[in-house]
């Protein structure tokens, strides 16, 4: 198999050299972190007041974990380490309690991120001759712009179509002979179900590869997509707090994802105790970003469960490989590639006076895509006996939810007292989706 490198020196670096590079970059990040109110306080409590106070990678463990709630509590600028005029890009994700999380990038940070994505793209066997159709959403979501910049750096021809509009996606694939797509697995499955409607066969397309991301799926789904389209499909991993995609990407051997260890320090911990687990054991992925200075994040708990492979990869890269995400330590849902917390939905519907106190969130499969159904009880005291007001109420709930979670839900109105009532930790979510 042909193996191509973007940065062969770094990608095949000996472990000891790689760790030396990590330590050097970690100390630089600590230097920036000390400029933020949040880490200044945290690090000084851990006895770190200068970058040199962390003398080895083992001493990283002196630094406490950072969690998503820290980002919210320090919104918007508590983790900003540079002057705002140095910042060239902001990405943000909607928050669970109305407070979003935000990341900042300097020009150099953006350059580092783009370079990692160019490396990721080359790792899958793509080259500058490829025609790249980016079906991920652009905007504040990191998936769209991230791969866009990476593909341009490689020199591919980029079609920045973004998500949705299946007919146009198929038209573009035909018109420009698209060879590579970046897409959620469910959407790529969905497109296939609609090809016949447009008079197109998968064999008419010129697709050779797909970068799959933003939602969990099984090996069987990968194999199915590969067979349906006659392509190679590659798994990727990232999260907006770590810039987005670029954390880990599969190589041509598709034996799980090389985690770019020159740019990220990965630890796998027991989510209950915080103890570091040995390679090969499943636990929570904890990441330290080594190539972002505008907004340092160290020992960030991703809430994703996975494990690291120990055996070397035939491609020759020395960076360890991360398994598929095996689950979450929290109740986050991934709906058509968008991360949603049930608490976000609760927050929105409970702020609407015509809605009662019980609600349910149902997830079902509509073809290859997910369907979100939010069931709410109407509040007796606000009932007017008018159908138009009930229709307007459904519209209001739908619009506010879409504004908060960016997904268009189906709203169902129910009689007061008809939905199940839970004691203690509520089980408001019923997930009946077929597993991808």
């Amino acid at each position: 198999m042909e193996v191509n490198f973007w940065n062969p020196e770094v990608e095949t670096m000996e472990r000891s050299q790689l760790e030396a590079l990590q330590l050097k970059r970690l100390q630089a990040v600590i230097g920036y972190a000390l400029k933020t109110p949040f880490y200044q306080k945290r690090l000084s409590r851990a006895g770190i007041s200068r970058p040199e106070d962390v003398r080895s990678l083992q001493e990283l463990q002196k630094i406490p974990f950072t969690v998503k709630d820290d980002l919210r509590q320090n919104f918007p600028a508590g983790l900003l380490a540079v002057d705002m005029e140095e910042v060239v890009r902001i990405h943000s994700s909607s928050g669970t309690t109305g407070v979003p999380t935000v990341i900042y990038l300097t020009a150099e940070d953006l350059n580092s991120w783009t370079d990692l994505l160019a490396r990721s793209i080359i790792t899958t066997g793509c080259c500058r001759k490829d025609i790249f159709q980016n079906m991920m959403s652009y905007g504040l979501f990191t998936g769209g712009l991230g791969l866009h910049y990476g593909a341009e750096r490689v020199g591919m021809t980029v079609i920045p179509v973004g998500g949705g509009n299946t007919q146009r996606q198929v038209q573009l694939m035909r018109d420009f002979k698209t060879t590579v797509v970046h897409v959620t697995p469910s959407y790529l499955l969905h497109i296939h179900t609609r090809l016949a409607e447009f008079g197109v066969k998968a064999s008419d397309l010129h697709l050779r590869r797909a970068f799959l991301g933003a939602e969990p799926y099984s090996e069987n789904t990968r194999l199915k997509l590969q067979e349906l389209y006659g392509i190679d499909a590659y798994n990727s991993y990232g999260l907006s707090e770590m810039n987005g995609p670029s954390v880990a990407f599969e190589c041509v051997y598709k034996k799980d994802m090389h985690l770019w260890e020159d740019a990220y320090i990965v630890e796998i911990i027991d989510p209950a105790t915080g103890q570091i687990l040995p390679d090969g054991q499943k636990g929570e992925v904890v990441l330290t970003n080594l190539v972002r200075h505008a907004m340092p994040l160290m020992r960030y708990r991703t809430r994703d469960l996975a494990f690291l492979h120990t055996e070397p990869c035939p491609c020759g890269r020395t960076h360890r490989r991360l398994s598929r995400i095996q689950g979450r330590t929290d109740d986050m849902l991934i709906i058509n590639g968008v991360n949603v917390f049930p608490s976000q939905i609760e927050e929105v519907i409970m702020a609407i006076p015509e809605v009662g106190t019980n609600y349910m969130i149902h997830l079902t499969s509509a073809g290859a895509l997910d369907k979100l159904i939010v069931k709410v009880e109407i509040y007796s005291k606000m009932f007017t006996g008018d159908l138009n007001s009930l229709d307007a109420l459904k519209g209001k709930i739908r619009d506010r939810l879409r504004a908060s979670i960016t997904i268009n839900p189906h709203i169902e109105l129910h009689e007061p007292g008809s939905l199940p009532v839970f004691e203690g930790k509520a089980k408001h979510v019923v997930d009946n989706r077929e597993k991808l």
Binding site: S380, F383, G385, L387, D391, E415, P416
Partner: protein
Amino acid sequence: MARQLTIFLENRPGRIKSISDVLLENNLNIWAFTIQDRGEFGLMKMIVDKPQTAQLVLADRGFACVLKEVLAVTAESDKPGNLERLTSALLEQGVNIKDVSGFVSPRDRQGICFIEFENPDGANLEQTLGAVGFQILSDRQLYEL
């Protein structure tokens, strides 16, 4: 004006029975009813002999229900053209009919219409409809028929 009971109901088996159970327990008599369907839910609209009591006992059982004033219009005799005269008179006043149901009492062949309406100009409907031979019934008059 007559009062109509409007109840929110999910569209699934047993919901109408749950209403009639409560009414029976309280010995309430249904005079007319209709259902406005909206897919997964609907509104059951009823004329009952004791609207206030019915509203209280249903609300007590947790139902979302309200009493709304509706026009109960009667024509003296059942003959062609009654609905045309009624709607023409309402149209002249710019009244919008939101929901309507009508029937003829089988005993004395008297036509009755229940109308939910919007009267944007606040026209005196009793006078308007009276001029073309209709009578607007109160709750009490309704049950004396």
